[in-house]
């Protein structure tokens, strides 16, 4: 397990080591898994009831597959901890949050002021995701018919 620098949850962090997706399916008591960019997040969907921590690894700033992995898990109803680990930088934080990440374990610690600014940057958002924020189009049409 990688220590999180930021965690937006009140529950007790999982202490177990995160195992690979391959071994997760075989270990019926494991609660933490680590997703690499090439892993299919949908392989975890049968186990959502016992999953409490998913670490999504970002090997580089430019590898954006983890954003899709996160949304897929949240869209499927996963409510456990979703932790971004690895090459996680200040300027990704708001987008990672939007995709469902609620904890962050960057390999290089982030400047606290810069990180705070980044988390609070955007007053509104254009897209609907599972993060609970109301997209601008919904604010423009409160109670409007859904397309």
């Amino acid at each position: 397990m990688v220590e999180a620098q930021y965690r937006f949850r009140d529950d007790e962090p999982v202490a177990d080591p995160a195992v690979t997706v391959d071994s997760f399916g075989e270990q019926s008591n494991a609660a933490a898994v680590r997703l690499e960019p090439g892993d299919d997040a949908r392989d975890l969907l049968p186990y959502l009831d016992r999953l409490r921590l998913v670490e999504v690894n970002f090997p580089s700033f430019g590898d954006g597959r983890g954003y899709s992995s996160a949304r897929i898990l949240r869209e499927a109803g996963y409510e456990g901890e979703l932790r971004a680990v690895g090459a996680v930088f200040v300027d990704q934080l708001s987008h990672l949050r939007r995709c469902g990440f609620d904890s962050f374990a960057p390999e290089v610690a982030l400047d606290p002021v810069d990180a705070e600014n980044a988390f609070n940057r955007w007053p509104d958002v254009y897209q609907a995701t599972t993060d609970g924020r109301t997209p601008i189009w919904a604010r423009r049409h409160p109670g409007g018919n859904r397309g």
């Binding site: 700033f61 954006g64 899709s68 397309g147």
Partner: protein, 544 residues
Amino acid sequence: MYQYDHYDQAMVDTRVEEFRDQTRRRIEGTLAEENFRPLRLQNGLYLQLHAYMLRVAVPYGTLSSRQMRMLGDIADKYDRGYGHFTTRQNIQYNWIKLEDAPDILADLASVEMHAIQTSGNCIRNISSDQYAGAAADEIVDPRPYAELLRQWSSFHPEFLHLPRKFKIAVIASDTDRAAMKLHDIGIQLVRNDKGEIGAAFYVGGGMGRTPMIAPLINPFVPIDQLITYSEACLRVYNRYGRRDNKYKARIKILVHELGKDEYTRQVEAEFAHLLSQGLEPPLAELERIKAHFVDPPFEEGLPDDLDLGDPDFALWVKSNTVAHRRPGYVVANVSLKPVGGIPGDASADQIRLMADLARDYSFDELRVTHAQNIVFPHVRKADLYTLWQKLDAADLATANLDSIGDIIACPGLDYCSLANARSIPVAQKISERFAARDRLETLGELKLKISGCINACGHHHAGHIGILGVDRKGVENYQLLLGGCEGADTSLGQITGPGFSEDGIVDAVEKATDVYLAQRQDGERFLDTYRRVGMAPFKEALYG
């Protein structure tokens, strides 16, 4: 045209402040270039051969005169008095200072403009038909749909680190003026048997080193599922597009390697899942946007004839104007291709003049075309002569639209750090060689496109005549391609054979046109003759 509400304005203003902060951290040293680079690119800021270059978005190619005037003012205030209009309907400034860039973005935001996602591995500025809202053949104005997609794609949290850049074009007529099938996603708005509007999705086209024509993957996506379907197309690409090789990372390679059917199957499965996720804005949002694109107050009962007594004016009318859907009006094109000039460049004074003329003669509106020209979309025929005179006085009335003089050219090695050869000098020499009016008229429609490297920003694959600059042992060399075409009958040009020197390529183009003139039958354009007779007679003339 579209006007920001306070939400749109806040998003753009926030982006300016975000980039100001990022620039500060880069200069102070807490943000490394490795991580700053993708951020500055997503704000349109490149580091080019001579300086930073800023690419400003012109969403779906539409500008107000106020915005156009700002583009001219920025050219004077922060650059060297000119700008370059690009094949993606954007404008680029070539001499930008990093420390000025946040202020430029702030100036742009003050007129509802930005440089968001004009570069980088994300969804780029959305392009469209430059005659949208004016064309006689459109089933609907495509721009509200493009604006809906613009808002969806701006700062999309999942799709800011795609395997590679991603370009979307939206059109709404059978005549494709936006090279739609050469985009990552080309959307054609269509009407079904019940009269409903939907979107035909063509996915996996592109130019670059592996040019491909996008296959149709869905002939009719209901319009109230447009965003959700787009999201599905992007998610499959973000997850499975290749990241091991930059040159195989575009979606065209994924679609090609999976096969159209398998890619489509995956998109449809993702789409079925996403439909339950509430991603789609309500139709009321589309209606809200559409209300910004209502017709300007066209006058009724205007005379529909023109006095063509001035032969120079008559020639320009024939060459540079297009039928408008309303009687008494016409669409007027400004060629940014003066003989011997730099394709797509305009001085700050010319930009401001075009802004004033749009205010006075075109309901305050201008368009940028993918052929690097400017359009006045709604001109009263009664005003056309005056407009032409004013354009002519500013060297903006070259009568050569869609002719061999109307060359598309990338900046090439004169400006671009990726280029292998210069493009602009070749364009200049060709336009001078064919400058004589009777030559232009005799050759008729002939689209010539030049790229200075395999990345194909000059669309050489899609030129009736294409030229590709390469580096042969440190010397510029130019390959000739024939038979490319964008539009409904999109085709990719074929290389004739060994390349030519800078002067040799100009001679080779002339030989190719001689073959055309000798072989053509009644009414054939260069492209038609090439398609009928094939490559052999051209090869014979060039190398025989």
